[in-house]
């Protein structure tokens, strides 16, 4: 019974399966449109953002870890001092998201009933910095210090030997907060996954207040009033960042091979990596010729795809599906929104292209260290 459960989890947690499931389930959890909202309500998914939903979620996570603790294989990864923050992260992220959604849903109800949001304080709508805020912050600070001290006493820092280029650990893992990035490196060239994307993430988040001109939901939690924005952000945050960290922590073993949480990390496991570039697909597989010697000619299709995706697609959207929205926010905001949004979307797209077609790079010019 338990073994069956473990086997199922192992199968489900394969990145192809789990990522797909999460992506499909996501709009039903954070419904961006009325249609999703209807199903969200109909199948009671909305109860996740109620108190029973909280308890259920906490129990499910805890159950997973408890079973993992008593599993000889999962125990090894679970009890590593390095992975302790990830466990905390899973709990804290669930709690934080649940709490904000819980309040958002309550506010949504109040607004629907013509009431003011809970955060609204009549008449002056103010909070005292001193003593209220500072005092609370101070207490929180002390308690957090206590937590850090106790943690550092109980769990020794996982220090290793001086780095030796001749003896790299297998698997070589980044610090936990970078494991999402490291997971991206599986699908993208280092300069994209390691440089362009992190910069886009930071600048993109800084740009959100400038791109999002929706005045609703300022100063209080709400979901309905800005559900598309919430959906997009939460997808990026939870699936494309947190979940990738979890994968990197628990599911990536020796040789960066994928292992289910209850599987033994067998260093002998070999997975074929027969990835093919788009140009190879076009020239060799479809046209049955050799590769052109001219690099630009060779990669011409890749460039066309890239220009189409990043340059032409936004224009088409602006003229058709997003016509109203484009007019609402204007061309500058729209351009940036598309730049960041399409970049973000390219990650799952590239992941699926890899999984479905073994696609390595859309543009592959290793001669210039330029691969996309």
């Amino acid at each position: 019974m338990l073994q069956t459960f473990k086997d199922i989890i192992d199968i489900l947690s394969a990145p192809t399966v789990s990522f797909t499931l999460l992506t499909i389930a996501f709009p039903f959890v954070f419904p961006p449109t009325d249609w999703f909202e209807k199903i969200h309500r109909k199948f009671g998914i909305c109860r996740l953002w109620t108190k029973p939903g909280f308890y259920g979620g906490m129990i499910a996570i805890t159950f997973f870890f408890v079973v993992g603790y008593f599993d000889p294989n999962f125990n090894i990864t679970l009890t590593k001092a390095d992975n302790f923050p990830i466990i905390l992260m899973i709990y804290s992220m669930f709690i934080a998201i649940w709490w904000s959604m819980y309040q958002a849903y309550q506010n949504d109800d109040r607004l629907e009933n013509g009431l003011k949001p809970m955060e609204y304080n009549d008449p002056d709508d103010k909070v005292l910095v001193w003593p209220d805020l500072v005092y609370i912050e101070f207490i929180a600070l002390i308690l957090f210090m206590v937590f850090l001290i106790v943690w550092s006493i109980l769990v020794a820092a996982p220090l290793e030997e001086p780095a030796n280029p001749a003896a790299t650990p297998n698997p070589s893992k980044a610090p936990w907060y970078f494991l999402g990035l490291q997971e991206m490196l599986v699908y993208f060239d280092p300069w994209i996954a390691g440089i362009i994307f992190p910069i886009f993430i930071i600048i993109g988040m800084m740009a959100i207040p400038y791109m999002d001109i929706n005045k609703k939901g300022d100063g209080y939690y709400s979901f309905k009033e800005r559900r598309i924005g919430m959906f997009i952000f939460m997808y990026g945050w939870v699936v494309l960042w947190l979940f990738l960290i979890v994968i990197g922590t628990f599911f990536r073993g020796p040789n960066w091979n994928f292992f289910g949480p209850f599987e033994y990390w067998d260093a002998h496991k070999v997975v074929p990596l027969n990835n093919v570039n788009l140009s190879e697909y076009i020239w060799v597989k479809m046209l049955g010729t050799g590769m052109p010697t001219n690099i630009l000619l060779r990669e011409i299709i890749g460039f066309i795809v890239l220009i189409g995706y990043m340059g032409i697609l936004p224009i088409i959207l602006a003229k058709s599906w997003l016509k109203n929205y484009f007019q609402e926010i204007g061309p500058v905001r729209y351009t940036f929104l598309m730049l960041f949004g399409l970049s973000m979307l390219s990650l799952p797209i590239k992941m699926y292209m890899r999984w479905l077609f073994n696609l390595k790079y859309i543009i592959a010019i290793p001669e210039w260290f330029f691969n996309i």
């Binding site: 909070v127 005292l128 005092y135 002390i142 106790v150 006493i153 030997e161 001086p162 003896a167």
Partner: protein
């Protein structure tokens, strides 16, 4: 408007939260301090302190007990003196009072005097300035200044007189007091001398035991170890030794090792703790290690230089201790929560392998003292030919481990050779030739067929033109086997060979001593191998068949050689003979050839090449591939493969290879440490192929040597010794040996197994077990370096002559170069600190001494001619007592050495039957007929033993006569035979009866 009392939160609630969190913070803070200061080593140091206190108290009690009776009288005496002094108390008091007063007065006078002196210095300057510069701002003050200066000097003189007078008074008073106290002081000093040891222990206790401390010291002792304050001079602290000459490798750089081991191993250099519990026990070998008088003092060598491990670790686990056995591991896990720190690349060597570290500094020695396991391991590397396939830069092969196969067709036949290659141990149970076939990864029927075919191709190559040995004329080379056995045991064959057909009779253990016995092969089954003709020719002259062989020529006569041949041919191995011949499978031949061809070429090319090959070409092609695949040329000289590269992994730094570079394959029931891997590999070299699907060309191919557990442990020690760790050049032992030849000589001594027959460096001479008595065995070569003249020794090596006429065992003629002999001679000389190659001839002083010597050597006294040949003159006694020809001495021996030898032969050659000559003492000369008995010359020497010994030496030196008596002796034994050995016990009595 701002209202100060405006609150949205319940501030009392927040106050409570604040209180709770502050208390929690306080608790966690205290906890942090405790955790931070509660180091494991401090616990050990506290325990050690208790142990020291206990031991000191026991010692104190013992010391007090020792002086218990003695001290009483001294204490009484001291008391008495004190009483006398006490009776003069009033006088003493008044004197004391006077002294105090005088000192007060002196203080005042002295102050005046010193003050006046500095005044004078200032005035002196003014006067001197006047003397040289004259006017001061145009005015002349010189007379005035001079006057002041003079007046001041008068005053100073007054002060001085007063001061000196008081000084004298004080001195007198003090002297008086001292005089009064003299008895008391003397008796107290005596008492203290008796109690000195007690005092010593008491002082120690006062330092470490709070019970014995004063109150202030108690407080200090407590405070010095308090957190934060303990930065100054704590009692409990990390103790460390920085060893600049032993480096630890931190990937990119070599840093001096910093050993903190003594933080817990507190009694390591103190022999008093030999019985203490760990970690306090002292080092088991303080004579060689750690103590300041030893060759490896702790301050220069530290701990991890030899033991490895994490030098900076201050807890049991963080020092990366490594268990010796599974039991120890289980115990450690129980007691210390032990687990291996996987990230530390150099875990401690389990104590069983500690000797591995000796090699860091002792790389050139043939035998490393006190490191028998390592020496054995290194010897086995050479004997088994490991370094034939595995390059070891610092331990390169000196010669191929196996025999030369260039002329093997003269020696063997094909069928035997094939069977031997397939399973050598079936023929000779203890052969060093390893098993390549019938192993874990090549025992499938297909593989056996393949291997048989490979074997046949190799055999085919080794027997070009199809020639092989025949036994047709064997009867012509066989003599009397019984005589042959006698000779075999007597002439020296047993120095290197055993003949032991039964594996069960082999001794269990292997050691550096035991490998001296089977230096050469175990000579069994020769009746089933090759031909008598070959054996005969081989023992007659080994280097004719194989110029590089180590087998020496024993100068056997034709008949002797025939007898020995008959004896050796009498051992047969019917089981081996009955084994099926190895068959060549033509299909396999095709397969193997195709496999190799297509590995390097396209299949089409492989096919066409194969189709164009004749059968012989295929045979040669597969033979070539097989030789190169199995690396046969690592151990054997095979024509055509003289320059072939060794096939194995380089082992130069194998001991430092990170464990993740070792392929554990699918073997999981093994510790992930390098020595466990080496052990398993040596037990079963193919084990890590287990479960793997490799093509035949890629299978593991290290052969199975059938090593015993002891051999494996020794080899693992040797492999671990090949480490990357650097030690400064000055730590290398060879820095203390001026001459490279010395090491070369010692290696040659080992390589040619000289110690099979001779004792050299207090090691070897195992042939005595066969001969039965040291008297009839080859001589001990103790002091050889200063015993013989180097040029004589060189000549002797090149053409041995009879020295000890009563020995049946022969010094063989070795086929060595001048370089090699020079190295051997140099190593002898070095051992005896005698490095001169050329020396002035000893000149005899023709006078009283030599005459006295002649007397001492005469029949009346020494009767040297009882045993020694005087030239061609036979000794008086029978052959069993014969000793070297004294006429040869001046050519052979060094003059100084003879005197040393005569002084006490037993010191130089324990067990010798040579007695020390009788030397009369002066009291004997007082007898009436002394001059008749001793003669005037001897008496005139007046009991000077050195002069007498020199006299004997000169007598021998002056002796004339034939020097080489080999032929005379040989002739004698040819006529009379050698059979005195059996009556030996009787002979000994005769010596005991002698008056000396």
């Amino acid at each position: 408007m701002f209202k100060n009392d405006e609150r949205y939160w319940n501030i009392h609630q927040l106050n409570k939260w604040f209180a709770i969190s502050s208390i929690l913070f306080m608790i966690s803070f205290v906890w942090m301090f405790i955790d931070d200061n509660d180091d494991e080593y401090k616990v050990y140091q506290r325990n050690f302190r208790q142990l020291e206190i206990q031991m000191a108290e026991v010692e104190l009690a013992e010391e007090l007990e020792t002086v218990k009776n003695e001290r009483v009288s001294y204490e009484e005496k001291a008391q008495e003196a004190q009483n006398i002094l006490n009776s003069k108390k009033s006088l003493a008091d008044s004197l004391e009072f006077r002294l105090v007063t005088l000192k007060g007065i002196f203080y005042r006078h002295n102050m005046n005097y010193q003050g006046q002196k500095s005044e004078i210095d200032a005035l002196k300057y003014l006067v001197e300035k006047d003397n040289t510069h004259g006017l001061d701002h145009g005015e002349d003050h010189s007379a005035e200044n001079r006057q002041t200066f003079d007046d001041a000097n008068v005053l100073l003189h007054n002060y001085k007189l007063k001061k000196e007078a008081t000084e004298t008074d004080i001195a007198n008073t003090e002297l008086f007091i001292k005089e009064m106290n003299r008895d008391v002081k003397a008796s107290t000093e005596e008492l203290n001398r008796i109690l000195a040891d007690v005092q010593l222990v008491q002082n120690k206790l006062e330092k470490i035991d709070r019970k014995h401390m004063s109150f202030m010291n108690k407080v200090g002792d407590l405070v010095r170890d308090l957190p934060i304050l303990d930065f100054m001079n704590p009692y409990y602290k990390v103790k460390q030794i920085v060893v600049p000459d032993i480096k630890y490798n931190v990937n990119f750089t070599q840093v001096p090792s910093v050993d903190r081991c003594t933080s817990c191993h507190l009694g390591i250099t103190n022999p008093d703790f030999a019985e203490a519990e760990q970690p306090f026990r002292s080092h088991p070998n303080l004579e060689t290690y750690l103590s300041s008088a030893s060759p490896h003092p702790m301050t220069e060598f530290g701990c991890t230089g030899c033991h490895s491990g994490r030098a900076r670790g201050t807890s049991f686990v963080s020092a990366v201790h490594m268990p010796d056995s599974d039991e120890e591991k289980a115990r450690w896990e129980e007691e210390y929560d032990w687990e291996q720190m996987h990230h530390w690349l150099q875990p401690m060597l389990p104590s069983n392998y500690t000797e591995a570290s000796c090699f860091k500094c002792h790389q050139k020695e043939a035998y490393i003292n006190d490191a028998d396991q390592l020496t054995l391991g290194l010897s086995l590397i050479e004997k088994s030919g490991c370094n034939g396939c595995h390059l070891i830069q610092r331990y390169q092969e000196r010669r191929k481990a196996g025999p030369d196969l260039a002329k093997v067709s003269e020696k063997l036949n094909k069928s035997w050779t094939a069977k031997w290659i397939k399973s050598p141990k079936e023929f000779r149970h203890n052969t060093r030739m390893p098993h390549f076939f019938g192993q874990d990864n090549n025992s499938s029927p297909d593989m056996i067929k393949r291997n048989d075919t490979e074997i046949m191709t190799m055999v085919n190559y080794l027997f070009p033109n199809g020639k092989e040995v025949s036994t047709e004329n064997d009867h012509r080379f066989m003599g009397d086997a019984v005589k042959g056995e006698e000779l075999f045991n007597a002439v020296g064959c047993r120095g290197c060979h055993i003949v032991e057909p039964d594996e069960a009779n082999m001794s269990d253990g292997i050691s550096i001593e035991s490998i001296l016995k089977d230096h050469g092969p175990n000579l069994i089954g020769l009746g089933s191998k090759g031909s008598a003709k070959w054996v005969y020719n081989w023992i007659k002259n080994p280097s004719e068949y194989w110029p590089e062989t180590r087998m020496p020529d024993l100068r056997l006569s034709d008949q002797e050689a025939k007898d020995i041949t008959a004896y050796l041919r009498s051992f047969t191995n019917p089981d081996f003979e009955a084994m099926d011949d190895i068959e060549l499978d033509k299909k396999q031949l095709e397969n193997i050839a195709f496999g190799w061809l297509s590995k390097m070429n396209t299949e089409a090319f492989a096919k066409s090449t194969l189709a164009n090959m004749s059968h012989d070409e295929k045979m040669d092609f597969v033979a070539d591939k097989s030789f190169r695949y199995y690396g046969c040329f690592g151990c054997h000289n095979i024509p055509g493969y003289e320059d072939a590269k060794p096939i194995g992994t380089e082992l130069t730094f194998e001991g430092s290879k990170p464990v993740d570079k070792l392929d554990f394959g699918y073997i999981h029931d093994i510790e992930h440490v390098n020595h466990a891997w080496f052990r398993r590999k040596l037990e079963n070299p193919r084990i890590f192929d287990h479960g793997k699907e490799s093509p035949a060309e890629d299978k593991l191919r290290m052969p199975n040597f059938g090593f015993s557990d002891l051999e494996i442990e020794a080899l693992v020690t040797a492999i671990l010794s090949l480490s990357e760790d650097e030690v400064s050049l000055k730590m290398h032992a060879d820095q203390y040996v001026s001459d490279e030849l010395v090491y070369e000589g010692r290696k040659l001594i080992k390589e040619f197994n000289c110690q099979g027959c001779h004792i050299i460096d207090n090691f070897g001479g195992q042939i005595v077990d066969v001969i039965g008595s040291a008297e009839f065995s080859p001589p001990s070569l103790n002091t050889q370096g200063r015993k013989t003249q180097p040029d004589w020794l060189f000549k002797f090596f090149n053409g041995p002559t009879t020295i000890r006429p009563n020995l049946q065992v022969r010094m063989p003629s070795f086929n060595m170069t001048d370089d090699q002999w020079n190295s051997i001679i140099r190593s002898f000389q070095f051992a005896d600190d005698q490095l001169l190659a050329y020396e002035t001839d000893h000149s005899i002083s023709w006078g009283r001494k030599i005459k006295a010597g002649e007397k001492l050597a005469s029949t009346d006294f020494g009767a040297c001619d009882n045993c020694h040949f005087y030239g061609s003159t036979f000794p008086i006694q029978g052959a069993q007592a014969w000793a070297p020809n004294l006429a040869m001495a001046k050519d052979r021996l060094r003059a100084d050495w003879i005197v040393d030898w005569l002084k006490d032969p037993m010191v130089i050659m324990p067990g010798t039957k040579m007695p020390a000559p009788f030397l009369p003492t002066t009291d004997l000369f007082e007898d009436d007929d002394a001059s008749n008995i001793y003669g005037e010359h001897l008496i005139a020497l007046d009991g000077d033993t050195t002069a007498m010994l020199e006299g004997i030496r000169d007598f021998i030196w002056a002796m004339k006569g034939q020097k080489d008596i080999s032929n005379i002796v040989k002739q004698y034994f040819d006529e009379n035979g050698y059979n005195f050995g059996e009556e030996e016990s009787d002979e000994e009595d005769e010596w005991d009866d002698d008056e000396w």
